[in-house]
Amino acid sequence: MTTAPPTCRTRPGWGTLLRTLPALLLVLLAVAGPWPAPHAIDAPITAPYAEAGDGAPLGGDQLGRDVWTRLLAGGRELIATSLVVAVLVTATAAVLGTVAALRPGIGRVIDRAADVLMLLPPVLGILLVALSWPAGGRLALVSAAYVLGVPYAVRLVAAAAAPVVASGYVEAATAGGERLSHLVVREVLPNLRATLLALFGLRFVAAVYVVATAGFLQVGPQPPAADWALMIRENAGGILLNPWAVLAPSIAIGLLAMSVNLAASALAPHGGRKAVTPL
């Protein structure tokens, strides 16, 4: 355990911190947003699609609700759901990927599963699950995003774990008769910290994408919930009257996706150059 393989030799420096900062700030803002919100999210306080004015700095939405209030409240669920998906996928992939690297038979099964899922656009997969399970709500969304995300993540971890598994100390531990669980948890995973951190960032990016898209297609949060993606869909009709009702949540999602992606690529290990960037 004393010699770390070369893929993990990234030490987070000031540059990394600087590039992860926007994402951290934005997540904090979105999570804390509902508290300073000046109005109730479902209380009409202006005319429908009213322009920005007194009491409503970003105007009103299609029912005259305060866009600013709904903007502040609209990110929490999106981010919480995405975080849950990213944590679950990364944790599962960490264990399964390491096992797959240690046991090639299991690795092949997982490879085939990823091959099959490649034929299914994530958006369609989530629609199908959400519609077939109408009572599932957020659970259906999380399960679908989880199932669709795991095979690729496992493949990534397995690829990163392969050189670790081939290194002398794991072979020694295997020869010493250590159990699979010991090998996974004590020998291999500690050496994959950098990869797992980067994987978590990338899965968070992917989750923000699918959760927001599901919200836009109205299979996620239901009205009158305040949700950035849902706000864009609901207010698209009044884009001429009060552009802020659509623009503000669009900017919020855009900033979130970009800053999280920036953070994820800052965390990625800068090992050998690869033809394919993992995502």
Binding site: M118, V129, L131, S132, Y152, G254, A275, V276, T277
Partner: protein, 340 residues
Amino acid sequence: MAEPLTDTAAQPGAGATGGKTSVPSRPWLFAGVRLLGLLARRSLLLAVLLATLFVAVELLPGDAAMATSERGESAADIAERRALLGLDRPVTERFGDWMTGLPTGDLGTSARGEPVADLLSRPFPNTLLLGGLALLVTLLASLALGGWAALRPGGMTDRAVSGGATAVLALPEFVVGVALVLVFAQWLEWLPAVTLADSGGAPASWQMLVLPVVALSIPQIGWNTRIVRAALADEAEAPHVETAVLDGLPSHRVLLHHVLPGALPAIAAGLATSTGMLLGGAVVVETIFNYPGLGAVLAGAVTDRDSPVVAGVVAVTGAVITGVLLLADLVRAWASGGRL
């Protein structure tokens, strides 16, 4: 999100091409057999996906008869519609019917009792047109941008292109679409914000295609530019490229004639993975621009909670993606010397 390249089709062996000068008829035989093998493999994967989806939809609580029920409908009414839709038959029987119907173009029946294939036959070509154009734009733009960046590795251009590509690749298509509508349709008034269909159900003019195609392409251009850039960088380290550089060939010539051919398989595989994202994104973008494609059908299916329709859309998009992956297989075989 686009996913890592997962192409695991067999690499063409050197032996298959070795005999082509001595026995002219043999390579075609080899190529034909290998093509059939690839086709069979890809079709099998598609069949497994569809079977998995059928089982998943079956295991999840709720069915089409329940989903379309109206307020105050009695249990007997729902049971009657369930019988009408054939939902009371054994699962295995319905599964067999659905799977055997697929190759003949029968995609089952929607919750409202219409054949799914009829529902999809008019909008599907429109979505294919949108996705195909976006794939073309993605290919051209990412080759140009990735190549431009690769010509000056580490320079300002390289960093700007790579940074820009990374920034846009995670943006959801509907956010890009909304921004485009605001800028180009509302403020500049250059292009129409909505797509009107002509009597045949196709978009009425080409201007109406511009914004949806651009909205769809931008995230994929970001993704593929990075793949092109990285594939070119990998290939640039090959010995024959070094020789070409030492021979004093101009850099654009080295790039086009010595680096690009070797990088093609990775680029083709990257584009193939983008196809799924493009088709998935298309249904979202169509909603914003009111484009007459599968997105409109899906939006209706969401309101009706009509999972047979969504399953049909998944089946046809899966078939399209299978076809594109097969093309990527062929590019790989061709680029690595096996004449297919």
